[in-house]
Symmetry: C2
Subunit: 252 residues, 2 copies
Amino acid sequence: MPYDPSAFPPFAVTVDLVVLTVRRHALCALAVRRGEPPFQGRWALPGGFVRGDEDLETAAARELAEETGLLAHDPAGPVAPNAAHLEQLATYGDPGRDPRMRVVSVAHLALAPDLPAPRPGGDARSVSWVPVEELLHPAGYGRDGDVRAPLAFDHARILADGVERARSKIEYSSLATAFCPQEFTVGELRRVYEAVWGVALDPRNFHRKVTGTPGFLVPTGGTTTRQGGRPAQLFRAGGATLLNPPMLRPEA
Amino acid sequence: MPYDPSAFPPFAVTVDLVVLTVRRHALCALAVRRGEPPFQGRWALPGGFVRGDEDLETAAARELAEETGLLAHDPAGPVAPNAAHLEQLATYGDPGRDPRMRVVSVAHLALAPDLPAPRPGGDARSVSWVPVEELLHPAGYGRDGDVRAPLAFDHARILADGVERARSKIEYSSLATAFCPQEFTVGELRRVYEAVWGVALDPRNFHRKVTGTPGFLVPTGGTTTRQGGRPAQLFRAGGATLLNPPMLRPEA
DNA sequence: GCAATAGTGTCTTTGAGACAGTATTAT
DNA sequence: ATAATACTGTCTCAAAGACACTATTGC
């Protein structure tokens, strides 16, 4: 096929972000309330245009920083205190997904520790952490006047894909630690797994398994009693990225 | 951010294809020889522009049919004789990846049974099955006058990502059967795993494991002796898409 | 004392991997 | 007969899951 610049249809390219965290035992996603049509007043995923001289990952990291103040975690660099995991998720480009124009969106998945509160970026949109269940199945929820409407555009599908990616990736990688602060206990890590998978895990088997997987956790020496009960050892994430043996998600 | 159609930079959007098959005990990918600059004379992955009214998966299926005559396999529909597995792989959009213009490419991964020979599409480019080792590490190969040059553009990285996706997906899904004809033996399926992973597997343990995983294989009743030796049972792919227990890739 | 969380030990079952041995074809 | 491939059985070890038990805090 000859390359004729006028022969290809023009596209807009955006990045959309599925930013997940665990708050109060629930898996939550960052959502923005739309202030204008289409889908005015509905929740949407944060995102924006890719600039002309910017690669996709840089655009995603820029949007993430603008929305949350989080830095994308560079696996080669030092561990920043406000670092989040960031990876490409999938690309969505159905012709009718945005009624205004042809937009191809490269969705990214970010996993962040629990943050005090999302601080709005330069613009004045309302940005919040919303439980994933509430965004994906809005009919069953909606106390205190929340808008019980599905996500704008095809963002429900994008969020569902991101959640499923997170659920499967914490099985065989150490990514669950991306939801934890820099130092955390085994119990806190277990509550991350329980919130993301939506199951209850046996604390005793979990403890034995997670401390026995080489490279997953490194004890820092400190202890904490912030969960109540007997003081728990503090750990930080070890160097391993792939877990062997993996953590297995209960079936049923 | 207000939506001003003139405010976003224009992109071209293409689909590139990583089409894999197993031929003569080697994992091979479909490659086209470039007939014009840039990268004239080098191997590249097949691909083309996404049309203005076409979604991404349709564009990938169209390119696949144009290059190989294969139909993308619809999981809900009937099993066509010339069906291939097709899924989105990842998106590549670095500003400099194509020296002519800003191109974002949505790569797709296709897995196909061994075909007689690739038939060129409407245009006259040379299309061949090339062992992935030869494409990814061209220095060590290159008998009979082959061009020992790396793939054009960033296609080596795309191919490597596709190969790694295939290697990991046949662990926990029944996708390895996409490399086999409609009816196949346990030995033929084992040779697929051996070629994709580049390892030797114990035929006895493999047989026991693969026939014991529920929903993976369904006996057709027939037998064949096309591999020599004792006649082997013929199977077709069962309904299961996720394997439980999974096939484990040897480590070391 | 009680409640709560942390951590260890022990038993059973499942499955992975090594490998002996039998079955059925082509030559 | 020999070689080649297909298939079955048996053993050992690793790990998952169930669950009894002990440890250390706050109240």
